[in-house]
């Protein structure tokens, strides 16, 4: 998950694996020191993953803390041999999904994500702003679970396997959710007079 934030790893006390074992088994200060090291090492990657889902920088910060709190609270269920990142990604995805469910049905993509695009990856001039806005709004009306799967698999182009692991479902279920999301989006756009 570290590639998401594309940031250099931060210094961590001792070996990463030892740190994870200490975090799981340690008590008191040893556990907290290990937790701090893990937090500093993975916070940017976890935040980057959450930001991809929620598209709100302030919410991503808040949910990163919430994710690590859940990680800290359920550390006895962590299996070091299965790796920290998939586990963290799964917890982060669940926290982000909870956040999406708590939001208003109308989904607004922050304008900063449009303006921040570098040259070359900007919007296709053939598609008007109005259509893009209507598509984003229609996408926001989808159920959060479908929206989340489509966001990660289609918009962020993450591998279906990674999305499946993050959501705790099968690859087939991810494909089905993406298919349903796109079908519903298409129907919604058609109702608005847009024929994709």
């Amino acid at each position: 998950m570290r590639d998401i934030a594309s940031s250099p790893p931060e210094p961590v006390a001792g070996n990463d694996r030892d740190c994870l074992v200490q975090f799981r088994q340690g008590e008191g200060e040893a556990c907290e020191a290990a937790f701090e090291a893990i937090f500093r090492l993975h916070q940017r990657a976890v935040r980057g993953w959450i930001l991809r889902i929620v598209r709100d920088a302030a919410a991503a910060d808040e949910l990163t803390v919430e994710t690590f709190w859940r990680i800290y609270r359920t550390r006895d269920r962590f299996e070091p041999e299965r790796g920290f990142e998939p586990w963290a990604r799964r917890i982060a995805t669940r926290a982000a999904l909870d956040w999406l469910r708590a939001q208003k049905p109308e989904y607004a993509v922050a304008s900063e994500f449009f303006t921040a695009l570098p040259a070359g990856t900007g919007p296709d001039p053939a598609i008007s702003d109005e259509i893009r806005r209507k598509t984003a709004t229609a996408f926001g009306r989808l159920r959060p679970a479908l929206r989340l799967a489509a966001t990660l698999a289609v918009i962020e182009e993450r591998p279906h396997k990674e999305v499946a692991e993050a959501l705790g479902i099968s690859v087939t279920a991810v494909k089905l959710r993406v298919f349903r999301a796109l079908r519903l989006l298409r129907k919604d756009l058609q109702l608005q007079g847009i024929e994709p």
Binding site: Q43, R52, A57, A126, I127, R132, L189, E195
Partner: protein
């Protein structure tokens, strides 16, 4: 991309992209990517969140002040009793006697 009933759309939007379901899905995917761009490479550097995490850990570790939770039906019962005594004040001495 075709927008029905709109006279100011771009000429290329008028072009219908007919095809099978897979192609239709591909078209919607493409439209979605154009409408909501990926932020993968633009996640940005956030500030260090460890102080916020520490605050959260401290807040969760602090003992919660004792709160007495009264069920809603207790409030309803008390409210009913007050109304009853208000309607029939003569019952107040009887109630006090039995208390």
């Amino acid at each position: 991309m075709k927008k029905q009933g709109s006279g100011n759309s771009h000429p290329s939007e008028q072009k219908s992209l007919a095809g099978g379901p897979a192609r239709d899905q591909g078209t919607v995917e493409q439209l979605l990517r154009q409408s909501i761009p990926s932020i993968g490479e633009h996640a940005g550097q956030s500030e260090d969140l460890w102080p916020a995490m520490q605050r959260r850990l401290r807040a969760e570790a602090a003992p919660e002040p004792a709160r007495v939770r009264v069920p809603w039906f207790d409030w309803a019962l008390a409210g009913g009793l007050v109304l009853l005594l208000f309607a029939f004040p003569a019952w107040i001495p009887v109630l006090l006697y039995y208390l």
